[in-house]
C-alpha cells in the first residue's frame, strides 16, 4: 500500500472505472438505436455514424477550440446520416438492413478520408467532473472522473423508458413500430415518424462518437471504434428494446472491456485472450440463455424486418 499500489482492488475498481469510461459510446448508440428500432426500422449504419461523429467532433473541436461545439457537430452529422438512411429506406422495396450496411461502409470510409489531416493534431478535450474528491486514493479518484456525456446518457435511459410509456410521441413511435397500419389509420405518416426516429437515433450515435474522440481514449485515429457501433446495435436486441436494460447492458460491456487489462495488471496472465474477448463471450452467453426457437424475441417491435 505504501508504494501507491492497491493490489487486487485494482480489478473491481478497473471494472467500475471501465464501466464508466468505456460504456458511454455503447450507451448512446444503443439508446439511439432503441428509438429507431422502436419505430420499426433497423439502422445498422450506426457504426459509420459513430466513426463519423468521432471524426467531426474532433475536427470541429480542433478548429474552433470548443469541444462542446464538437459534440454538437457530431450530433448533427449523425442526424444527417440518419436522415440519409431514413430517406433511402422510405423508397419502395428498399431493405433497411442492406442500406444500413452500405451506410456503415460509407460513414467509416468518409470519416477516414476526411479525418486524414486530423490524426496528428491534438484537439481540446471534454472536461471531466471529479466525483472522487472524497477519496485520497488516486486510483479511486481516477476511476470516478466522470464525463458529463456519461451522466446525460445515464439520465436519458429512464427518461426514454418513461417517454415510451407515457408521452404522446413515445406512443406514436411505438405504434409505428408495432403496426404501421394502425399509425396510418390514426392519420400519421409512418415514414415521417421513422425519419424523425432515425435522425434522433443518429444524433445520439454521433454524440457517442464524440465521446470516443474527445474524452476516452481521447484522440482521433482510424482504429478508434473497432466495432463498438455494431456491438451496440446487437446490444439493443439483447436489451429487449428497453432503454433501462440498454443502460445496464452498456455498463456490463464497459466493465467487461476493462476486465482483461485489469486482470493482467494484477498478475492474472493466463488466458488473457479469453478475458479480452469477455464482451463477446458475454453477448453470446446472454443470447444463448435468452433465445428460444419456440417464440420470437419478447419485446421486439412487430414491424422490424427481422421479426416480420
Amino acid at each position: 500500500m505504501a508504494d501507491g499500489s492497491i493490489g487486487l482492488w485494482t480489478v473491481p475498481l478497473a471494472v467500475l472505472g471501465g464501466a464508466i469510461r468505456v460504456s458511454t459510446p455503447f450507451l448512446f448508440v444503443s439508446l439511439g438505436e432503441c428509438i429507431t428500432e422502436r419505430s420499426g426500422r433497423i439502422n445498422l449504419g450506426l457504426e459509420g455514424t459513430l466513426v463519423m461523429g468521432a471524426m467531426s467532433a474532433y475536427g470541429i473541436s480542433y478548429l474552433t477550440g470548443s469541444p462542446w461545439l464538437g459534440v454538437l457537430a457530431a450530433g448533427i452529422t449523425g442526424a444527417l446520416l440518419g436522415a440519409l438512411h431514413a430517406g433511402i429506406c422510405s423508397l419502395p422495396r428498399v431493405n433497411d438492413i442492406a442500406v444500413g450496411i452500405a451506410l456503415m461502409l460509407f460513414g467509416t470510409g468518409l470519416a477516414f478520408y476526411l479525418g486524414k489531416p486530423l490524426i496528428e493534431p491534438t484537439a481540446p478535450r471534454l472536461p471531466a467532473i471529479d466525483f472522487g474528491w472524497w477519496s485520497d486514493i488516486p486510483q479511486v479518484r481516477a476511476a470516478l472522473r466522470v464525463n458529463v456525456l456519461f451522466l446525460i446518457g445515464v439520465a436519458l435511459a429512464p427518461i426514454l423508458y418513461w417517454a415510451f410509456r407515457t408521452t404522446r410521441w413515445g406512443l406514436l413511435i411505438r405504434t409505428a413500430g408495432e403496426s404501421s397500419d394502425a399509425a396510418r389509420a390514426m392519420g400519421h405518416s409512418v415514414l415521417l415518424i421513422r425519419l424523425r426516429a432515425t435522425m434522433v437515433g443518429g444524433f445520439l450515435a454521433g454524440i457517442g462518437g464524440s465521446f470516443l474522440s474527445l474524452f476516452y481514449p481521447g484522440s482521433w485515429n482510424e482504429g478508434l471504434s473497432s466495432g463498438q457501433g455494431i456491438t451496440a446495435v446487437a446490444l439493443v436486441i439483447f436489451a429487449r428494446w428497453d432503454p433501462l436494460l440498454c443502460l445496464w447492458a452498456s455498463l456490463a460491456f464497459g466493465g467487461a472491456a476493462a476486465l482483461g487489462p485489469a486482470l493482467q495488471s494484477v498478475g492474472v496472465t493466463s488466458g488473457y485472450h479469453l478475458f479480452n474477448a469477455a464482451p463477446y463471450i458475454l453477448t453470446l452467453a446472454i443470447m444463448i440463455i435468452t433465445c428460444s426457437p419456440k417464440r420470437t424475441l419478447t419485446g421486439a417491435p412487430a414491424e422490424l424486418s427481422i421479426t416480420r
Partner: protein, 370 residues
C-alpha cells in the same frame, strides 16, 4: 475505390507486357527520374510504425531525380500485389518498399519473381536463401534503443514500477520488453516492468484501459509496443505518469511527460539504399543493424530526465556505438519463472539468431507470455 481498381487492372494487363520489355533494358543505376514506391498498412501519420516509414520516404523525396509514390492502408492480402503492380506498371516504380510484416510472403515474393529486374525491400527480416535475389529484408535492432529507454525510465520512476503496453507476445515484442526491463534494472536493480498484452496491433480502447490499469497499480513510467503509441502516450500523460515513446518521437503529444523513446531511423537508411543502387552495388539481401548502423535511434531527452540518468544512458549508448558493440542479453540471464535462459559465460550479441526465437520474459518483468 472498387471501380478504380478494376479499371486499373484492365490497364495493367495491357501495360504489363510493354513495361516488362522496358524493364529488361534497365541498368542497375538510376536514370534521371527514378520512381520509388512505398506501401503502408495503415495511415502514414499515425505517430507510429507507418509514420516512421513515411519519414524515410520523405527523406528520399528531398533527393533530386527521385520520385516517391505512396499508398496507405493497403491490407496484407493480394491487395498489396495489385498495388505493387500498379506502382510498377502505371508509375514506373523500380524500387519498392512494401513496409508491413505480412506483405512479404507470399505477396512480395511472388511480385519479386514476376519482376526480376526490379528491387523489392521489405521491412521485417524475413528473407531466406530460397527467396528471389532481387528481394531483400531489412530490420533494426530497436531493442538497443529500448534498453536506453529502460535506463532513463529506471532513473525517472519514483515507485520503481514501470509499465509496458504490448500487442502480442511474439519474439520481437518480447525482446523489446526484456531489453527495456534489463535497462531499467541497470538504473534501479529493484525496478519491475509490468507488461499488459492487448492482443492486437491497434486497439485504442484496450490500450487506454491497459494504461489506466498499470497506473492504478502504481506504475509511473510507461512505454509500449503497439502500432500507434498516441493513445498510451496521451492517456498516461493525462494521469500524470511519464512515458518513453516508440516508433517515432511522440514528444509533441506530451512534452512534459516524454522522457525519451526508441525510434526507427529510416530517414538515414533509405537514402543509403538508394545510393548503393545508384553506385551499382547490390543491397545485401539481409540488412540489419542497430544504433551503430543508424537504423534505430533514441529520442532527445525530455526535460524531466535527470543529469545522472542522461550520463548513464549516454555511456551505454557510447558502448553500443563503439567497435566492440555491447550485448544486452548476457550470460546468466534468468527468466521471470526462475529458469536460466542464457547460460553463464555466453553473451548473446545483437545478431545472435537465438534472440530471434525469444519466448521468455526476463526476471524483473511482471507478466506472462501466454
Amino acid at each position: 475505390m472498387e471501380f478504380g481498381r478494376i479499371s486499373r487492372r484492365h490497364l495493367l494487363q495491357g501495360g504489363a507486357a510493354l513495361t516488362l520489355g522496358a524493364a529488361t533494358g534497365a541498368r542497375p543505376s538510376f536514370a534521371a527520374e527514378t520512381t520509388i514506391g512505398f506501401i503502408y498498412v495503415g495511415s502514414r501519420d499515425d505517430y507510429g510504425y507507418n509514420q516512421a516509414h513515411a519519414q524515410g520516404a520523405a527523406a528520399l523525396k528531398k533527393i533530386p531525380g527521385l520520385k516517391v509514390v505512396e499508398e496507405e492502408k493497403v491490407p496484407e492480402t493480394d491487395a498489396v500485389e495489385k498495388t505493387i503492380e500498379s506502382m510498377i506498371n502505371l508509375d514506373g516504380a523500380t524500387l519498392l518498399f512494401p513496409t508491413s510484416f505480412g506483405y512479404y510472403n507470399p505477396h512480395m515474393v511472388k511480385m519479386a519473381k514476376k519482376f526480376p529486374k526490379l528491387h523489392f525491400e521489405h521491412c521485417g527480416g524475413l528473407w531466406s536463401d530460397k527467396d528471389p535475389k532481387n528481394a531483400g529484408s531489412y530490420f533494426g535492432y530497436i531493442d538497443e534503443a529500448q534498453y536506453i529507454s529502460g535506463i532513463v525510465a529506471g532513473y525517472s520512476s519514483k515507485s520503481g514500477k514501470l509499465g509496458f503496453v504490448a500487442a502480442k507476445p511474439i519474439p520481437q515484442v518480447l525482446r523489446n520488453i526484456n531489453a527495456f526491463a534489463l535497462g531499467a534494472r541497470l538504473a534501479n536493480p529493484k525496478a519491475t516492468t509490468q507488461v499488459i498484452f492487448t492482443g492486437d496491433w491497434s486497439m485504442p480502447v484496450k490500450e487506454a484501459e491497459a494504461t489506466n490499469s498499470l497506473i492504478d497499480q502504481g506504475v509511473d513510467v510507461l512505454t509500449c509496443h503497439v502500432d500507434g503509441p498516441k493513445t498510451m502516450v496521451e492517456n498516461a500523460a493525462r494521469r500524470g505518469a511519464m512515458v518513453c515513446g516508440y516508433h517515432v518521437n511522440q514528444s509533441p503529444l506530451a512534452p512534459k511527460a516524454y522522457l525519451t523513446g526508441a525510434e526507427w531511423n529510416w530517414e538515414a537508411l533509405y537514402p543509403k539504399f538508394v545510393k548503393m543502387i545508384a553506385a551499382g552495388e547490390s543491397i545485401p539481401n539481409f540488412y540489419r543493424g542497430g544504433l551503430k548502423e543508424e537504423i534505430v535511434k533514441t529520442s532527445p531527452y525530455g526535460e524531466a530526465v535527470s543529469a545522472e540518468a542522461r550520463k548513464h544512458a549516454d555511456d551505454v549508448k557510447a558502448k553500443f556505438l563503439s567497435g566492440d558493440g555491447y550485448a544486452i542479453f548476457k550470460g546468466g540471464l534468468v527468466d521471470n519463472k526462475g529458469k536460466t535462459v542464457i547460460a553463464a559465460g555466453t553473451d548473446r550479441g545483437q545478431k545472435d539468431p537465438e534472440l530471434e526465437k525469444m519466448d521468455y520474459l526476463v526476471e524483473g518483468v511482471v507478466g506472462a507470455t501466454s
